[in-house]
């Protein structure tokens, strides 16, 4: 099984959350990321804060249409489909484990025909985006989701390769036997078994 992160790996956009902030004129405050990293707030708390910041900057409630429009600007990398097809052709199961939002990750999975797809969900009350959401993949606990996936599918971690790109992927890199970091990957590069400049290079490594 080859498990992909979505933001920055299957897309060029490093963070779907950051993209939404930019669209609605707000800023993802690093302070809250740090609070989450230190365990002072939960991932759900962080989602609530991020969405509240967006609503505040926008000056009015965010509608589903507006959020979908913002999310639609994030597209899968042009060669992502070819990469996933290559992975399947070699007899592996592709999967996505991402802390990104459903409006981006789910669409990318559909575009790339990836059925095992895990992400976090935004919640709308009617047409109105509500601060919060449904957390399936807390950023700090991606390794637990990957482990559970490997166990529940019966594939096992020993047969799992993970492709990520940033510091939040480090714990997954430490878990799986083979990991690939897609540049730019900062300190995460040091933990991966392989580092590639472009996603399509994973097929050229000769390991799949």
């Amino acid at each position: 099984m080859v498990v992909f992160d979505c933001d920055g790996v299957l897309t060029y956009e490093k963070s779907s959350w950051k993209a939404l902030h930019e669209y609605f004129g707000s800023k993802g405050n690093l302070y809250f990321a740090d609070l989450y990293r230190r365990g002072a707030i939960s991932y759900l708390d962080w989602m609530k804060i991020d969405i509240a910041l967006m609503i505040h900057s926008h000056g009015k409630p965010l509608t589903r249409g507006e959020v979908e429009r913002a999310a639609s600007r994030i597209r899968a990398r042009p060669l992502a489909k070819k990469v996933v097809e290559g992975v399947v052709k070699r007899g592996h199961i592709p999967a996505v484990v991402s802390s990104g939002i459903d409006l981006v990750v789910k669409r990318v999975c559909e575009e790339l025909n990836i059925e095992l797809c895990f992400y976090n969900e935004l919640v709308f009350l009617g047409e109105e985006l509500i601060p919060g959401g449904v957390v399936h993949v807390p950023l700090k606990d991606k390794q637990l989701v990957v482990k559970k996936l490997a166990e529940e599918t019966g594939i096992g971690l020993e047969n799992t390769v993970y492709v990520g790109d940033d510091e939040w992927d480090i714990d997954v890199f430490k878990l799986v036997p083979v990991s690939i970091a897609v540049e730019p990957c900062g300190t995460a590069c040091e933990y991966a078994t392989y580092v590639v400049r472009e996603l399509e290079e994973i097929l050229e490594l000769g390991i799949l």
């Binding site: 399947v88 007899g91 592996h92 199961i93 592709p94 025909n113 990836i114 059925e115 095992l116 599918t153 019966g154 096992g156 971690l157 020993e158 890199f173 430490k174 036997p177 083979v178 990991s179 040091e190 078994t193 392989y194 490594l205 000769g206 390991i207």
Partner: protein, 201 residues
């Protein structure tokens, strides 16, 4: 930061032998799995263990199985490269460096002896009790054993029947189509690879 034995030494070295065709992919996968399984037991990972534990691993039957697998695939060179890399990466662990040198010397003389790894044996060591226990432990499946077969069910997605006869073993997989196209394709791919492997023996 120190490199990790499995992730940054063994796997990249083994992989580097696949591409030029010096090592078959299936043998490489088997070799990597042996080290992955050993990591859990010997706790030599740099992340949640101690590379100094490699001393015990290099003296174990598990390492002999790994070494002999690579040797039997004409990839002794890969093994020596791994040992060299261990010496370089963990040069501050004196006991480990000494052990690596001893192991390298032994390997120069020939294959390591007294190996009895299930993964490398040609003798079928399988009985229904072991099958039932593996299905319970590894898949957490509901298991029903009869005198000549084991039936296992994993939720609504998979049913597996194993029959062990005197001269052959029969496996029946029933996979729910709702499991998804990729799962079915991958399963079929694995069955074909297995059939090719068995056919070539």
């Amino acid at each position: 930061m120190k490199p990790d034995f499995l992730r940054h030494i063994v796997n990249p070295v083994i992989d580097s032998y696949i591409k030029p065709g010096k090592l078959a992919l299936k043998d490489a996968i088997e070799a990597k799995k042996l080290v992955f399984a050993a990591e859990e037991r010997y706790k030599f990972s740099v992340y949640d263990g101690d590379p100094a534990n490699l001393v015990t691993y290099f003296k174990s039957e598990e390492f002999k199985a790994f070494a002999n697998l690579l040797e039997s695939c004409n990839a002794k060179e890969a093994l020596m490269e791994i040992l060299e890399e261990v010496k370089r990466s963990y040069s501050d662990i004196r006991e480990l460096v000494d052990t690596v040198e001893q192991v390298a010397e032994l390997l120069e003389r020939g294959p390591l002896k007294h190996v009895s790894s299930p993964g490398t044996s040609n003798v079928l060591d399988l009985n229904l009790e072991k099958v039932a226990s593996a299905l319970k432990d590894r898949l957490n499946a509901e298991v029903l054993a009869t005198p000549n077969s084991v039936y296992a069910r994993l939720g609504n997605v998979l049913e597996l029947e194993v029959y062990i006869f005197k001269h052959h073993v029969k496996l029946i997989f029933k996979v729910n189509k709702r499991t998804g196209k990729h799962v079915l394709e991958a399963l079929f791919g694995k069955v074909l690879s297995l059939a090719e492997e068995v056919g070539s023996i």
